[in-house]
């Protein structure tokens, strides 16, 4: 289990390698990487700034990760989330889960990102092409995606 909140970029290949190294009981690793898109709806976006609540963020991420380990038989997992200024195309977040079974890896990885999106205290401010920063509104679809794991 590993949770990191950082300004600097990360290397997905290296993270995947570290996740599975020296555990040949792992049959599959599912990962999701979120990237900064160049559009918000129909508005061009040049980048964004990610704010967070230091302390609470790590606590919530660790709790979400622990919940995944409760629900699925996981060998390893990883959550990395960047904060600070980012440009279009930059990596924002990576979640990954490793298990003997691919179904568990898929479901738990999906769960991690869905819960992270509605429970971890991060806020995005998108930069318009004029340099203005606009706070992103939470989406109902994210709330619904998160809720389905409560069933």
């Amino acid at each position: 289990m590993s949770v990191r909140v950082q300004e600097v970029d990360f290397d997905p290949g290296r993270e995947l390698d570290r996740l599975t190294r020296e555990n040949t009981g792992i049959g599959g690793v599912t990962s999701f990487i979120g990237l900064v898109r160049d559009m918000a709806g129909d508005q061009p976006v040049s980048g964004m700034t990610l704010e967070h609540y230091p302390g609470m963020t790590e606590k919530m991420l660790e709790r979400i990760e622990a919940e995944a380990h409760e629900r699925w038989p996981l060998d390893a997992s990883l959550i990395i989330h960047r904060v600070g200024p980012l440009e279009a195309g930059d990596r924002i977040v990576m979640v990954a889960t490793a298990s003997a079974h691919r179904q568990a890896a898929f479901e738990s990885c999906h769960f991690l990102i869905d819960w992270l999106k509605t429970k971890a205290p991060f806020w995005k401010a998108e930069r318009t092409s004029e340099g203005q920063e606009l706070w992103v509104e939470a989406r109902e679809s994210d709330e619904e995606a998160s809720e389905r794991w409560n069933r």
Partner: protein
């Protein structure tokens, strides 16, 4: 009591944190928001729509009836948008 503000709440209130000493009738999250709302036009505007505000007490999500003590860290922020 330490208050923390994030995202547009921080912009509207012009600060990311402040120390406050609310009166005795502030006993929970609901009464704190009620009191804060009356502390001036910036507060009135930022806290006008309660549905847009989330609250954490000592870094745990709180509800309107979550009790408060003087030494608490209370964070006010909009629904989260990470990931």
């Amino acid at each position: 009591m330490k208050l923390l503000y994030f995202a547009w709440l921080k912009n509207k209130l012009g600060a990311d944190s402040e120390e406050v000493a609310p009166p005795e009738e502030v006993v929970d999250v609901a009464s704190l928001l009620e009191w804060l709302h009356n502390q001036g036009p910036a507060y009135a505007e930022a806290l006008g729509d309660r549905r847009r505000i989330r609250v954490a007490v000592n870094q745990e999500y709180a509800r309107p009836d979550t009790p408060l003590s003087q030494g608490d860290e209370v964070a006010l922020f909009p629904p989260v948008t990470g990931g």
